[in-house]
């Protein structure tokens, strides 16, 4: 096994491992995995700290505020701390820890960062509308065969496929 950053585990093995983690999550907690929810908690906490009045009056933030606990005291926030640690450990194990802005040779580093910012903003916006992202809606939803998860999964991959070809230059 090479440890120069080029080694990846077999994708089917990776899939089975990820499936077992997801299954364990359902077995233990009764819910699936997630990712965008942790960012939402961060946004709600930030807005509540800066403008508490505004947060309580907003139709959206107010759904996630409680008088007793902070929105940061949330299962997904702890799960994402684990994700960062687990990914860091994997990167260290396979020799991939390196500060890098990865982009196609056809575009500049700056173009890559601008498109990443816009892409992230759109993804964040969409994840709130659909009540979950690729993890919480699509992957976890598919494991329990939920209509919402499977429809959202098809919408994400279908739209990503179409737009990828429109923005082909960014990638290949």
């Amino acid at each position: 096994m090479k440890r120069d950053g080029t080694f990846y585990i077999n994708p089917y093995l990776g899939g089975i491992m990820l499936g077992l983690v997801l299954f364990a999550t359902y077995y233990i907690t009764g819910r699936g995995l997630g990712a965008s929810g942790a960012v939402k908690s961060t946004v709600v906490t930030t807005v509540h700290a800066v403008a508490p009045e505004h947060a309580h009056q907003s139709g959206y933030y107010s759904q996630f505020l409680s008088d007793t606990t902070s929105p940061m005291n949330n299962w997904l926030v702890f799960e994402i701390l684990g994700v960062l640690a687990g990914a860091f450990f994997s990167g260290a194990l396979w020799g991939r820890l390196k500060i890098k802005n990865e982009h196609s040779p056809k575009i500049s580093g700056k173009t890559r960062l601008i498109s990443a910012l816009i892409g992230g903003a759109l993804f964040g916006f969409g994840s709130q509308l659909a009540r979950g992202c690729t993890s919480g809606a699509a992957l976890s939803g598919m494991a329990v065969l939920s209509s919402s998860g499977i429809i959202t999964m098809m919408a994400i991959f279908g739209s990503a496929y179409l737009f990828s070809w429109i923005f082909k230059r960014l990638w290949i």
Binding site: A116, Q128, W171
Partner: protein, 197 residues
């Protein structure tokens, strides 16, 4: 019946966050080891030069699905207690389309961008900042989208009920479809010009 463990109070609530960190570590380790910390590897699925996302995603979903159906059948876990995302038709579709648009520009989804951040990818870090801004923007303009957000509610709907099929039949068809896609992916990869990343 003893599972799911937390909803049936088989484990003290105090363990909740510890378990969240441990499961998250498994999630992050698997994603990174599979190559999901690289945007150009992820995007390979859409151009046909690397189908790692398709393989990992569908293998994982099917593994978890089979585990849940089997444990429920054996009486080891009550699957009716598992959380099912409520199905709001308009927002599920429109939200997905917007996410796909963001995916094609950003090259990550939220979970994979955190893996990228963890190993030092600057593009992943900027994507994560974008996520924060996008969620903030949604929250601020929520009242404009409230109609779509809550439109056409169908409850905690299951896909096999929606199309009028038995759960076991649908699950079996899904497994065959995935295996078919895995063979298709291998064939496409052999035809498409390699991309170095």
């Amino acid at each position: 019946m003893t599972a799911p463990l937390f909803p049936l109070e088989q484990i003290p609530e105090a363990w909740n966050n510890v378990i969240a960190v441990l499961l998250g570590m498994g999630f992050g380790f698997t994603l990174e080891s599979s190559g999901f910390s690289s945007s150009r590897k992820i995007m390979g699925t859409f151009f046909g030069y690397d189908f790692v996302v398709l393989r990992v995603f569908f293998t994982a979903a099917i593994t978890a699905m089979v585990g849940i159906i089997y444990f429920d059948y054996m009486g080891w876990m009550d699957a009716s207690l598992l959380y099912i995302n409520p199905y709001y038709v308009y927002s599920a579709i429109l939200g997905g389309l917007i996410m796909g648009f963001g995916f094609s520009l950003g090259g990550f989804c939220p979970g994979t961008s955190f893996c990228g951040v963890a190993i030092g990818k600057l593009d992943a870090l900027v994507f994560s900042i974008g996520l924060f801004l996008g969620i903030f923007l949604f929250s601020e303009v929520y009242s404009l989208f409230e109609g779509i957000y809550n439109g056409h509610f169908m409850g905690a709907s299951k896909i096999y009920d929606l199309i009028g099929m038995k759960e076991s039949v649908f699950a079996a068809l899904l497994i065959f479809a995935a295996i078919g896609m895995f063979f298709g992916a291998k064939w496409v990869e052999s035809k498409v010009q390699k991309v170095n990343y």
